[in-house]
């Protein structure tokens, strides 16, 4: 047998074997939840066997998620199914990373999920997956500290918030804050500054961008007012930036504007006192308050060699089971996270007193989706630095936001 024939036969055999191995390999579902958090979902994945197609879980830390996906794709080793933060979606769609869902799945989503949350998984009118975890921001108060300061209910307006925060704040002999009336979260992404800003901006009636994302609206009076409200807290010494809202579970912080996903941490910190002492309430901006919501959604990689099977698994994980909640719904409920899946919400027990206001904010349409703009992470990093500089007293709101507006429009100009 000539050598060339032997080499060709060997390559064909090897290629066929590799393809067979790929077909036999479990579908990979990549999420940022730890094994412990994802336990109900892991049980579903372990049981899954659709005509020989099985599934496995891959945990990628939230902070490294995008990088891991990119590196994996460059190396040709991407997972089949992603759980994506909606602000990453625009770039992934723009670069053809995601597969379009089949029609029956699109109908399943549009029929079963709240409209506002479907928007989070929609880019330019096309749905790219199944919404999973939804988070909304509300005012979260430590009522034990508020009661100690003489207040029986959380504030309903910003002026009230300032008054309550000032009353709660105590300082030690060196002037350092011991109990903080209000705190901002110190997160690496800058979300601790940006997300409360969005909540105040929406409550002021503003929007961060024009509808087509061609222009930024950070110079608008609403944006200046929103930032001025935040900055007033530090400028008037009601709080300072050395206090981190992520320390709320330790009990020394009166109020923060925070998402519901933090519930499990707060509950762990407060223990038995959680139900009595921790209250979630409206963003204190009067009757017309609005807030921010963001969502994750499950999508399929366009490089998956079994897209149909992958979409079937996505549906399986998100579809109610015999009148009970879906695998995903059960997992999210365990985490104290929200889902916009109406069947899940009907199947799950009534939310507790802490979670109910978040559910209501989503149901009443007060929670507005985080914009799915290109380069979201980069833009929000810039926003965070601007907000922090103003809150630290290094800049005034109006000129700082003008500068931000120019920088952001520079980015928008590249893409829109």
């Amino acid at each position: 047998m000539p050598h060339r024939t032997i080499i060709a036969a060997t390559l064909v055999t090897a290629g066929t074997s590799l393809a067979a191995v790929a077909q036999d390999a479990p579908l990979t579902v990549a999420m940022h939840y730890t094994q412990e958090q994802a336990a109900p979902l892991l049980a579903c994945l372990e049981e899954y066997d659709a005509d020989g197609v099985t599934a496995q879980y891959q945990q990628i830390s939230y902070r490294d998620y995008l990088q891991t996906v990119l590196t994996g794709r460059l190396g040709g080793q991407s997972p089949d199914i992603y759980n994506l933060y909606s602000i990453w979606a625009a770039q992934m769609v723009d670069n053809g990373v995601l597969d379009t869902p089949p029609d029956d799945l699109v109908s399943f989503v549009t029929d079963s999920y709240a409209e506002g949350t479907v928007d989070a998984a929609t880019i330019d009118g096309t749905l790219w997956g199944v919404p999973t975890e939804v988070s909304a921001y509300l005012l979260v108060s430590n009522m034990a500290l508020l009661r100690e300061a003489g207040y029986d209910a959380p504030p309903a307006t910003w002026d009230e918030l300032r008054e309550v925060a000032e009353a709660v704040t105590t300082r030690n002999a060196q002037g350092r804050i011991e109990n903080a009336g209000f705190a901002i979260a110190d997160s690496s992404s800058g979300a601790g500054f940006v997300h409360p800003f969005y909540a105040l901006l929406y409550s002021e009636g503003g929007t961060p961008y024009s509808e087509d994302f061609a222009e930024a609206n950070f110079e608008s009076p609403e944006a200046v007012d929103a930032l001025s409200l935040m900055a007033g807290l530090t400028q008037d010494d009601i709080t300072d930036l050395s206090v981190d809202a992520y320390d709320f579970p330790a009990g020394g912080i009166g109020m923060m504007i925070m998402a519901n996903w933090f519930k499990s941490e707060i509950a762990a910190g407060f223990g038995d006192a959680f139900a009595q002492d921790v209250v979630a309430s409206a963003i204190p901006m009067g009757e017309e308050w609005r807030t921010l919501q963001y969502a994750f959604f499950m999508g399929v990689d366009s490089n998956s060699d079994r897209p149909e099977e992958a979409w079937a698994l996505v549906r399986h994980l998100n579809e109610p089971r015999d009148g009970g909640p879906s695998c995903m719904g059960e997992m999210l409920a365990g985490l104290g996270a929200l889902t916009a899946n109406e069947a899940d919400n009907a199947a799950l027990p009534e939310p507790d007193a802490f979670t109910a206001p978040f559910v209501a904010a989503l149901a009443e349409g007060r929670a507005i989706s985080q914009p799915n703009v290109m380069q979201s992470a980069e833009i929000e990093g810039m926003m965070a630095q601007t907000i922090e500089r103003v809150m630290a007293g290094e800049a005034e709101p109006e000129p700082a936001l003008s500068g931000l507006d120019v920088e952001v429009e520079d980015i928008l100009f590249e893409f829109y």
């Binding site: 990119l70 770039q91 002999a173 060196q174 630095q385 922090e388």
Partner: protein, 295 residues
């Protein structure tokens, strides 16, 4: 007549030298030349790793050098960090090496000071966060017990830079101390004896004998510390994340973020290349200056 051994000549020795050199050459090509070449190519493109690179010529350099004020701020931070690290770290390492060369149980002391090098840098960052936290940190708690208000180590822009330099010096002192120790051990005792006979005191011996004798080690440590300081960012990423308000954001961290968070590989490569050139030029100048003084 005695036969002289043939000198090694890789160009004239046939294929054998190249065969033996080939693993090293392949390794260098794969892991140094290729990535560097790719990075240089990327710096002339606009590329997010999800798509394909678009050739944009010098636009990335133009943007960074003429329009990106943050980039210049990070260059300044990089110099402050690197100079702070060299100015505080090199004398400290030299001092420790000098003290321990005369101390009892010097091997134990050297091992103790080398320990941070064996620890994960992220663990070190978290450890120091606990120590330096403004409200709950050990240092400020102790100062508070003494009735003193400690600095805002991690939330004040100036103090945050001082803090990261301090921790970097602490982390690296043991490594440089070992280099200085080896150099000190290599100085011939007879030279010290001669200096003593000539009536030189301890200080004169240090300045006129010890330091000149260990100058090669001093040049090595200064230049490598400077290069390390200019390109190091893992500690800062884990300890302050570049904050507060960009006060500790060095260029390496800025380009890392640009590449992996903002998905701007082309611009990040251009930034990294500019940093590479700056480090190269300054290291060369530094090497020449220190060598001239030595001769």
């Amino acid at each position: 007549m005695e036969r002289r051994p043939k000198e090694f000549d890789p160009a004239g020795g046939g294929w054998a030298p190249w065969l033996f050199l080939s693993p090293l050459l392949v390794f260098a090509a794969l892991f140094f030349v290729l990535p560097l070449g790719f990075s240089v190519y990327l710096s002339f493109t606009r590329w997010n790793p999800l798509g394909t690179p678009d050739w944009v010529g010098l636009r990335q350099f133009e943007y960074l050098l003429t329009r990106d004020t943050t980039f210049w701020a990070t260059i300044l931070n990089t110099f402050v960090f690197a100079f702070g690290f060299v100015v505080a770290g090199v004398p400290l390492a030299l001092g420790l090496a000098f003290v321990f060369s005369r101390a009892r149980g010097k091997a134990v002391w050297r091992s103790v000071y080398y320990l941070p090098q064996l620890t994960n840098i992220v663990a070190i960052a978290y450890l120091w966060q606990f120590v330096l936290d403004d409200r709950y940190g050990l240092v400020n708690r102790l100062l508070g017990m003494a009735g003193l208000r400690g600095p805002d180590w991690l939330t004040d822009p100036v103090m945050a830079m001082i803090s990261v330099v301090m921790v970097m010096v602490w982390y690296d002192a043991g490594k440089n101390m070992l280099v200085f120790s080896a150099a000190l051990e290599a100085v011939d005792q007879e030279i010290y004896d001669a200096a003593t006979l000539d009536g030189a005191g301890a200080t004169r011996t240090l300045w006129s004998v010890t330091l000149p004798m260990i100058r090669p080690a001093f040049i090595f440590v200064t230049i490598t510390s400077f290069i390390t300081g200019m390109g190091f960012f893992a500690l800062i990423l884990a300890m302050t994340g570049g904050g507060p308000r960009g006060a500790t954001e060095v260029t390496a961290l800025y380009t890392y973020r640009m590449a992996f968070e903002d998905l701007r590989m082309g611009r990040a490569s251009a930034g990294a290349l500019i940093l590479f050139v700056i480090i190269g030029v300054i290291s060369l100048l530094q090497f020449r200056a220190l060598k001239e003084r030595a001769t």
